[in-house]
Structure formats: structure tokens, C-alpha cells
């Protein structure tokens, strides 16, 4: 450090000045902030949770739609069976 004697000579005081600028309980404040951040969701986790929720909604909508279509098909089939049965019955009567 022989090239900058002033910097070396004043360094302990510079450090003292810097330390004097710190507010009390720095370590506790830092640890508390880190602990609080641990309780929060990380951005990646938040994105994953959001994506998961959207996918679950989509799957539920598809399932409900599919069930409604099946039910409509079953009802139509049942009605058609009745009509077909009646048609067959009328056809048999005509033949007789």
C-alpha cells in the first residue's frame, strides 16, 4: 500500500465513519427480514401456484362440459329409443 499512504493511514477512520452511519441492531434487522421473506412465497413458487390453479380450473371446466355432453347424448339416445320402439310397433301393426 506504499502508493497510497493517505488511504492506508485514514482507512481505520473511514471504517469508523462508515460504521457510525449504521443504525443499531443491523444483524437483528437483517435476520428478521430474511425470516419474513422465508414466510412469503418466492416469485417462482407464486408462478407455479398460479399456473397450477389455472390448470385445475381448465381441467374442471373440461370435465363439467364433458359430463354435460354425455348427459345430453344419453337423454337424446333414450328419446330416440322410445321413438324407434314406437316406430317399430306402428310398422308391425301396418304389416298386420
Amino acid at each position: 500500500m506504499q502508493n497510497e499512504p493517505e488511504l492506508s493511514a485514514l482507512w481505520p477512520d473511514i471504517r469508523k465513519q462508515g460504521t457510525a452511519a449504521l443504525r443499531p441492531h443491523l444483524a437483528q434487522r437483517v435476520l428478521a427480514r430474511v425470516a419474513a421473506a422465508r414466510d412469503e412465497l418466492s416469485p417462482q413458487t407464486a408462478v407455479l401456484v398460479g399456473f397450477g390453479a389455472v390448470m385445475a380450473c381448465l381441467a374442471l371446466t373440461l370435465a363439467v362440459n364433458s359430463w354435460r355432453e354425455h348427459r345430453a347424448n344419453d337423454e337424446a339416445l333414450a328419446q330416440w329409443s322410445v321413438v324407434a320402439a314406437e316406430g317399430t310397433k306402428l310398422g308391425q301393426e301396418d304389416t298386420l
Binding site: 471504517r15 462508515g18 452511519a21 449504521l22 443491523l26 444483524a27 427480514r33
Partner: protein, 181 residues
């Protein structure tokens, strides 16, 4: 040169802090807060932002600690975080000043050294601010006792490059001193 933590104790302390031991994390912060404060103060030349920046650097340090593969590299890594925080702060301040017509009053805390020393410190810090951030970082890291290899690791260059840059930085500071007097 500096009151660096014991060579064997530091990696062990870092390892315990990495494992989530809160007393080790607390000890690590207490061990480095003064050095960090001095570094940040000299990098910025102002005392007002020192507390906030040190807090941010230490939070980043604790959050990133599990990803630090070699505990022996803790010190260069910490000062790299501090350097980046100071450079980001300076950049933000430059933008803020562009959109602020009146500079708010400085809220620098009181100083605890005698007037003569205070003037010398202020003069030195003003000269340091005239150096490029890269040169300033190297001078201060050298002052903090980091080896050439550690500085190379902290700044992402080679030891030879650091040696040359450090030499030039010292020359520039000497020139500034000569011009001042």
C-alpha cells in the same frame, strides 16, 4: 493487514450459517458489518445510504449463502455483492437526479473524528469518487486485505489483469493527489 476472520474459523462459520444456524448467521453479520460499512462508505463517498445498502447486501448474502459452493470464497463473494450494490445505487441516483429539480438536504449522520482528520477523509473520498468505479473497487478491496486472486474472483477477471489494473488505479490516485496539492 486487516482484521480478517481467522482462516480456519471462517469457513466453519460460513458452513454453519449455510446450514441455517441463526447464531452463526448473526456472528457472520457482526464480523463483517464494520468492514462492509467502511467499504460502502468509501465507494459512495457519503454516509447516508450506508445503512440501507449494508442491510440489502447482508440480506442478499444470507439468501444466496446456500448457493455458495466453497465457503473459503465467502469474502470475495461478499465484497462482490457490496460492489454491485454500490454500482446499482450510483446508477439509480443518477437517474433520480435527472428527474429531481431540487436535491434533498443531505442527512449524513454526525462524524466522530477530529476536524483535521475529517477534512482529510472528505478530501480523500472526493478524490476516490473521481476514479472510475472499477479502480475504486480494486483500491478498496486491496485495502480490505483481499488477495489478487480473491479480487480476480470477485470481479470476474484474471490475477494478471487485476495486478495491472490495481497498479494503474494507484497511479491515478497518486496523480489526483499530486494535482490537488
Amino acid at each position: 493487514m486487516e482484521d480478517k476472520a481467522d482462516d480456519t474459523a471462517l469457513p466453519e462459520l460460513v458452513r454453519r450459517a449455510q446450514a441455517g444456524n441463526m447464531s452463526a448467521q448473526n456472528a457472520l453479520i457482526v464480523a463483517y458489518q464494520a468492514r462492509l460499512a467502511g467499504f460502502v462508505y468509501a465507494m459512495l463517498g457519503r454516509a447516508a445510504p450506508v445503512d440501507d445498502l449494508c442491510q440489502d447486501v447482508l440480506i442478499k448474502m444470507l439468501k444466496g449463502l446456500p448457493r455458495l459452493l466453497d465457503p473459503a470464497l465467502f469474502e470475495p463473494w461478499l465484497f462482490r455483492l457490496a460492489r454491485n450494490a454500490c454500482i446499482d445505487h450510483t446508477r439509480r441516483e443518477r437517474w433520480r437526479r435527472m428527474f429531481t429539480f431540487f436535491d434533498p438536504a443531505t442527512d449524513d449522520p454526525p462524524v466522530f473524528v477530529d476536524t483535521d482528520k475529517r477534512e482529510r477523509i472528505e478530501a480523500l473520498l472526493a478524490l476516490l469518487q473521481r476514479l472510475p468505479a472499477r479502480d475504486r473497487t480494486l483500491l478498496l478491496m486491496a485495502q480490505e486485505g483481499l488477495s489478487l486472486a480473491e479480487m480476480a474472483r470477485a470481479t470476474g477477471t484474471t490475477t494478471t489483469t487485476i495486478k495491472t489494473r490495481l497498479h494503474r488505479a494507484r497511479e491515478r490516485l497518486r496523480d489526483l493527489y499530486a494535482k490537488r496539492t
